[in-house]
Amino acid sequence: MPVVKADLERLARIVGAEKREIVERIPYVGLDIEELTESYIRVEYSPNRPDFGSDVGIARALKGIMGIEKGLPKYRVEKGNLKVEVDPKLHEVRPYIACVLAESLSLGEEDIRQLISLQEDLHQGLGRKRARAAIGLHDFSRLAQPIYYRAAEPDYSFQPLGYERKMSISEIIEKTEQGKLYGNLIKGKNTFPVLEDSAGNTLSMPPVINGSVTKLTVETKEVFVDVTSTDKKTGEQVLNIIATTLHDMGGRLKSVKIVYSNSTEVTPRLKPFTANLEKNVVERLTGLKLSKRDLAEYLSRSRLELRGNRVYIPCYRVDIMHPVDIAEEVALGYGIEKFDAIYPPPNSPGERNKFESFLESVSNFMAMSGLLEVMEYELTDEKSLIGNFSREDSGIIRVMNPKSIEHSLLRDSLIPSLLSVLSRNLKEEYPQRIYEVGRVFSRKGNTFDEHWNLCMMLSHSKASYSEAKSYLASFLNTCIGIKTSTEPSSHWAFSEGRTASILVSERETGVIGEVKPEALECFGIYTPVSGFEINLTMLYNMLNNSSHSI
């Protein structure tokens, strides 16, 4: 989740309230405080509110909920002369552009920091890592109008921001960090979007990198913003958020004419959009009976406005897509902390899930037999699951791109898990007798199997097949009550001649044996271990198929 760092002094000045009050109210606009110091606050915001990507954006909401400035924020866009011509060849590559010019700015270091951080968050979030939309911020005084958004060949060259010399597009894509990160968004088309002014200066090569000519500084008085996109609506939403931010930083906004081959558009469009007020939806969600006046008041605290039956919504709100979203704005304006608590009593008693009950009974039985329950991770690594037993890895399910190799495979047996527990507890008193009731996973052709097993391991100087079998027999005879037999077999975890299949109604449901010394050595265990593993899902199904009802 994105995070904004705001200077508290500055935020208090913009909002017009005490620092303490601000810190208190911040959670009630849906922001999560990550860090709070004397001088600054870092807050996490949800990706549905990209307008919270700067301190001025947060200030707007705070002013509303604190009653300092309510209703729609007012934005004025003057008609400007600047024109951007769009090359039709970009249609297949990155067809849309939306722009604004902000004049009369006097940006401080902090304003620039906020803008850059907002730009980055918009790239990641709404812009979907620049695939959908990418933003360029330029010092307009260095540009000659009109501006051209045009298609360029791979050998087109310019000096990218942060580099000392001119480079060709192919070179930028192959060699620069940004090229490696974002080049694939435009690769394979053989024509590339560039933004150029009338003097031939390259403003940027969207969505990869900006040119070096138009970098923002504290000297910048006029900022030209371009948002190129593959989705027109997203591009305009991104522009609206940048434009309203520049406005709140003191800029005078001028519109820009975008000339496509078959149409002309003027951006930005900062007019509020509207939705019908659905009073029943509000009442149903909030449980509040509200007058028109109350509704208007609460909506205005959320910086919306009720006129007649229409709700006016600021242009930067990209999250309003259903009447319930308006209802939430009413609830926030009313104050979430003010809702009464009503406990809804149940109409009928609750009920356990039968399989979950079964698993719990099995676990209780094992604990009552004197064993200690452990719970290991289901995701594991190659060595402990396969390598330590030198076994085939067919049927193992792997996950894609795990952050850690410790979590790259799903276990198909609990035996490695329990041996791993024993190997981590060599200094603890023996005998150690442990068990786990856990999930295991395996691949079955094109599909998968997921079921629950019980595994038990005994470790002490005299741990033997026979002791393991005592526990198995006690479990199967008294806990489950099914006739079973053990037949000689072989298994990757157990020693030859000391291994048996557990047969229940002639079906193989598990394995029992003495763990082979090769495996013990790999786990670094120097005490004998014996145990068994049995499929509980299978036992449960057998129980339910036999006549267990009364």
């Binding site: 949800s46 659905e278 969600l285 608590a341 406990y343 009552m368 719970m375 850690s404 979590h407 997921e450």
Partner: protein, 488 residues
């Protein structure tokens, strides 16, 4: 025959070899304290089980070697003759005159010359005096001669003689009889034979040291996470909820699409979610509930909303993954049960592609629940959560706005923890969006929440690192307190 007190028995046992012993040595051999021994022998004397006598002990302390012996040794080591002058340099005047006096009287030496006098050994045997002094110094048995010499030495102040008396005890024949009869009467322990024959009657079990430590034993136990899950389950059942059970492997459709999470939402990316390598759910195609969900994503369908406005891709929905939240189970139940009042819960594992640290795990547990019912709203969500957490030991709960794609409003549950000394984040809650419920055929309000359980467990067990819960340290699992204190 009278029974013996344990102290009496121990003392008699120490005396059973019929030797005389004093209190001190009885204390050492019986392991009793000296005053316990004193008490016991008083009783035993009265009973006639022991007798006593008084013993005189003499103890000699040697102050110095007699001067005559010193003189002889010096002369002997210098070849038999020395001048008076030379003798004065090694012996004090006092010693010299005393030594010369005795030695001359015994005729061991003679003195010659007038101006420059010299002293010479005569050859008379003096060895009996040396051996006598040796015996006296070593405290050995003394002959008549020795005693005489001792008397002389003690008069001269060279030996000090100390005398003291002590009392010693010895077992009597009665005592021996009493002791042997005690051996028969005490039982070392009950046996099946004794119980069957009744031979235990009239006898006592030998007293044992009831304060001594016994060997430690570790009972079988459940894992604390399982115990906590059982506790939460009981809370849910008591509040009228039905338990759900479902698979960890789920198609992206139920984990994400059905919850109105758009297909390009960052949470769906591989760096957060464990997708399974080349496995997918082929049952999912654009029809039935899948189609309704697809349309809702694309244009809002009949839910009253606008949808996300993109082209929904069935292939994204088919991908198999490890569930990232248990909402996948509650939403499936909603689909299964349809448009009716419902209370269900699922306490189970969820999986996130995270690097482990003190507050993050790749596998942890969530305790999800939903209530579907007429006229339910935010007030009921607050009311339910307060009651639910009260039962789990959290005294107060408040809600802060937050965001999830599938609930509106979305509310963060904050709980007041006395142990943590403030408000802590417990997890997410909200009311399902119509875009979630309507495609499943449900138009009742559905309250939903899905907090993790580990946060509460850290409070309960006073742990700071979430990984400790799953370290399976057998020492901790064996020795942790069953009734961990306080909330959570």
């Amino acid at each position: 025959m009278a029974t013996l007190h344990p102290l009496e028995r121990k003392v008699l046992e120490s005396l059973s070899n019929r030797e005389w012993k004093d209190v001190r040595s009885l204390s050492i051999s019986s392991g009793l304290k000296e005053d316990q021994v004193r008490r016991a022998v008083e009783w035993l004397l009265q009973k006639g089980f022991v007798e006593k006598h008084e013993v005189k002990h003499t103890q000699m302390q040697i102050k110095d070697k007699p001067a005559e012996l010193k003189l002889v040794e010096i002369l002997k080591s210098s070849g038999g003759t020395l001048s008076l002058e030379q003798l004065r340099s090694v012996l004090s005047q006092e010693e010299l005159s005393a030594g010369m006096g005795k030695a001359r009287a015994n005729k061991w030496i003679e003195v010659k010359g007038d101006g420059e006098a010299s002293v010479r050994l005569t050859g008379t045997d003096y060895s009996i005096y040396f051996s006598s002094f040796e015996r006296i110094s070593a405290g050995k048995e003394l002959s008549a001669f020795d005693l005489k010499y001792l008397e002389d030495l003690s008069r001269r102040g060279l030996v000090q003689i100390k005398e003291h008396r002590s009392i010693e005890y010895r077992i009597t024949e009665h005592g021996l009889a009493a002791l042997s009869s005690q051996h028969e009467e005490y039982l070392e322990g009950l046996t099946a034979e004794l119980l069957a024959s009744g031979a235990w009657k009239g006898k006592r079990l030998r007293p044992i040291d009831v304060k001594a430590d016994a060997p430690r034993f570790y009972p079988g136990r459940r894992h604390p996470v399982r115990e906590f899950i059982s506790e939460v389950r009981d809370v849910y059942i008591s509040m009228g909820f039905t338990e759900l059970h479902g698979g960890s492997i789920q198609p992206a459709f139920w984990n994400f699409d059905a919850l109105f999470i758009p297909q390009d939402h960052p949470a769906r990316e591989m760096q957060d979610t464990f997708y399974l390598e080349d496995l997918q759910d082929e049952a999912i195609r654009r029809e039935g509930v899948y189609e309704r969900v697809a349309l809702t994503h694309e244009n809002g369908w009949v839910t009253g909303g606008t949808g996300w406005g993109y082209r929904w891709d069935v292939n994204q929905a088919k991908k198999l993954l490890l569930r990232t939240h248990n909402t996948v189970l509650t939403v499936k139940a909603l689909h299964e049960y349809g448009n009716r009042e419902l209370r269900v819960f699922a306490i189970s594992k969820v999986y996130r592609n995270e690097s482990l640290d003190y507050k993050h795990l790749a596998e942890f547990h969530q305790m999800d629940g939903i209530i579907a019912g007429k006229n339910l709203n935010i007030k009921h969500l607050v009311g339910f959560l307060k009651e639910f957490y009260r039962k789990l030991g959290i005294k107060d709960v408040k809600l802060w706005p937050t965001y999830f794609p599938y609930t509106e409003p979305s509310l963060q549950i904050m709980g007041y923890s006395e142990k943590a000394g403030g408000w802590i984040e417990l997890g997410g809650s909200g009311i399902f969006r119509p875009e979630v419920t309507i495609p499943l055929g449900v138009d009742l309000p559905v309250l939903a929440w899905g907090p993790a359980i580990e946060r509460l467990m850290l409070l309960r067990y006073n742990l700071n690192d979430i990984r400790e819960l799953y370290s399976n340290d057998i020492g901790w699992l064996r020795r942790r307190r069953q009734f961990a204190s306080g909330e959570g």
